[in-house]
Assembly symmetry: C2
DNA sequence: GTCTATATAGGGATAGAC
DNA sequence: GTCTATCCCTATATAGAC
């Protein structure tokens, strides 16, 4: 972590923009709010970014890049297929927890909440990467009965929604949704869903003893 | 289903507004688009609703009301606790499938995408109703190890994301996401997650034979 | 109850001094 | 590279005829 005063204005704008785009959406965010968040005048933003749309795309690109790197690293860092899948799942949860705003923006992307010009290309590539890997494994075992895509989409929805939306919807339910307990809880749930879902396909032993969610 | 020409203009406005608010969000939706969807002039909207915000709230209220009625009906229509929980899960999936736009709007609500005045009161009440029921059952078995709230939030995220966001994100993956096959698939996955998650608490036998997702 | 015309405000973007 | 001042457009909302 570097001293905030040492990072360039461009970076501080990106950060403030990410925060606001996440909570208000593209159309709902006002440039003067972003400027205010940075502590600068609205007009100054245009020195760093050509337009609001350009700024949004920069935020989006950063998110895509980070996601891709994180997931690739998880995939490369583990050895066996089972370990890779576990690493992938945990890395995703960790990523969401570490960057809930970014996650929210990517979720918004999946709502069609994007400026006119933007495409879903990047996200599609990243999801494709994950699915390709899992399907590769699946093909080797010859099992065709699991829909990897549906499972992936379901788990993403589960994890992302839990950490980004639940706090807004029912703030009283999870005092601090990002605390270690909750993270562990969701990680366990996600891992279980993934592994049970893929058990038959990947010859993973089903983890399901009737769910005992151990206290921390 | 009534003839479209027989429903009042107010209802047709609500419907067009729901569609647009769902896909573009509150801030991203223009009143003239809604008017165009109805086939009427922009100014005419103000005869039926005092303001854009008022219209949005009406759409939201309708969604809340329908959700509450649907879930209450599912709860009342089943006998044993296990059947009630299954009915609840299936009813939720069916509701999402039948009204993806409404679902998207409620998801947006959980993003904080609401006009200044709105509150999350209604949604909180509905979620509370479900949780209260499940926790009631849980208390009778004395098991304290499952976090019903986390499970509920997770499943909602999984189901809602699958049907509303996945089609936008990766349209190529699910030719028709709302078709019977996909619905069955998700229903099975959701039911499994719920029942495995609650198995220990409700003395439900764990369903987990290593997941075999039967072809239709 | 719907229309045309218009008022008004606010937001994105630019000009140009410093 | 940041500021102040301003342009210009669009979106909500209103007025008032039909």
């Amino acid at each position: 972590m570097e001293d905030a005063s040492l990072v360039g204005t461009r970076e501080r704008i990106l950060k403030a923009a990410e925060l606001l785009f996440a909570s208000r959406g593209y159309a709902g965010t006002r440039l003067h709010e972003i400027a205010h968040g940075v502590g600068v005048q609205k007009a100054s933003l245009f020195h760093h970014f050509a337009s609001k749309e350009d700024l949004y795309r920069a935020v989006l690109d950063e998110g895509h890049h980070h996601s891709r790197v994180t997931l690739e690293k998880a995939l490369d860092g583990a050895d066996t297929p089972l370990e890779k899948i576990r690493a992938l799942t945990e890395a995703y949860v960790d990523m969401v927890v570490a960057h809930p705003e970014r996650t929210k923006i990517l979720l918004r992307e999946s709502f069609g909440d994007v400026p006119p010009g933007a495409s879903r290309h990047e996200t599609q590539q990243i999801l494709g990467m994950v699915v390709d890997f899992v399907e590769d494994q699946r093909r080797q075992t010859g099992n065709a009965e699991v829909d990897v895509r549906a499972l992936l989409v379901g788990v993403i929805g589960m994890v992302a929604f839990f950490f980004t939306s639940a706090p807004v919807l029912v703030p009283a339910w999870f005092a601090d949704p990002l605390d270690a307990d909750n993270v562990a809880r969701v990680k366990r749930l996600a891992t279980k869903v993934v592994e049970d879902g893929l058990a038959a396909s990947l010859k993973i032993p089903a983890t399901t003893t009737p769910t005992k969610v151990a206290a921390r």
